[in-house]
Symmetry: C2
Subunit: 201 residues, 2 copies
Amino acid sequence: MQASHDTRQRIINAAQELIYASSYNEVGVQEICDHARVKKGSFYHFFPSKRDLALAVLEQSHTFMRDEIINKSFHDDIPPLARIERFFTLLYEFHKDSRENTGSVFGCPFGNLGGEMSTQDEDIRNKVDSIFTASEKPFEKALAEAVERGDLQAIDTAATAKAIFAYTEGIMLYAKTSNNPELIRELGKHALQLTVAVNMQ
Amino acid sequence: MQASHDTRQRIINAAQELIYASSYNEVGVQEICDHARVKKGSFYHFFPSKRDLALAVLEQSHTFMRDEIINKSFHDDIPPLARIERFFTLLYEFHKDSRENTGSVFGCPFGNLGGEMSTQDEDIRNKVDSIFTASEKPFEKALAEAVERGDLQAIDTAATAKAIFAYTEGIMLYAKTSNNPELIRELGKHALQLTVAVNMQ
DNA sequence: TTTTTAGTTGACTGGTCAGTTAAATAAAGG
DNA sequence: CCTTTATTTAACTGACCAGTCAACTAAAAA
């Protein structure tokens, strides 16, 4: 116990940072340990496998996103639909900062891991899927409130929330592949269109 | 030249299949060669590196998608907006078949590779980005035609096409992480909402 | 027929992969 | 104090990684 008592936490933090900046398969356990100033043997004292570390990283990233983006966006100090707009603003600022500080847009940590690992690891796929489903909820709540207030005509709030969140994932992927955070701002503006009923002949 | 003359093509086909079903970093050159019935030395006769193979795979996948989904969807035998709906129908059927035959929804081959590799390989990122940009074009063309016909009020067709394609990427990622092709059908229904102007107070 | 070129083969490199093990050390509890 | 438990350390495993190389074969060009 020469090292401090937060070894496990340092490992998660290092993995979160390294995997988010590249990919699960590109980052090795050794590299994570070096970055966390931990010996590999210690790593396997705290985690049965690299895969279990990934699940812990997903959990921590979910907490981070909920605290730093979701909760701040959906606070009820402004009208419900404005909260959705604020969500895209905060998302944009987060990725713009990342782009300025690191040179890269990293996209969505859940979408990244889900896209890479869903066909290889069922536990990771399920974890990402549950995070996605949970992330729809604040959108759904805002939409229901907007309908109640009369800001929106009656819609299927659950389906619409899912559509908006799927759109968000697409936007983040697009921003990553173009390495351009501005896409989040430009495409985010269209998100509320998914809330209106459309009548095509 | 004991083996047939299509060695290079067999390598690309094997890589396309294997990488699409898992991920770039999960599939090794040796595994690709085994699957293509080619010795590893031959591989490096045709490709300078695994990365260059990935670029060739992206090119071939792009051709496939254009021929099998894009062109079939956007043929002008039906009205322009109906072509966009047909695109999601074909996309759904493709992934439903995949799910039935393999047990898994694999998502978008470009989105998968872009999400995994964009921060690690600039050439791959640029290739995916250019495929994305090219894929917006048939949407844009259909939208412009719809505006011309009076099916749609005047909109920014380029921005809307980009929004619809980003939404498509999000849908495919969501379908992959939930391993559920039905999401493509259910969420695809909302795509045309991105074509209408919205007026929120 | 001889030379050149394209393609094939299998053995090989050095490095890295995830994961293991046994012993050492430190902290906590009695 | 002594025992138990948690944690750390370094050396290790065997498999696999992308990529190299020189020798070989066959077809095409001269």
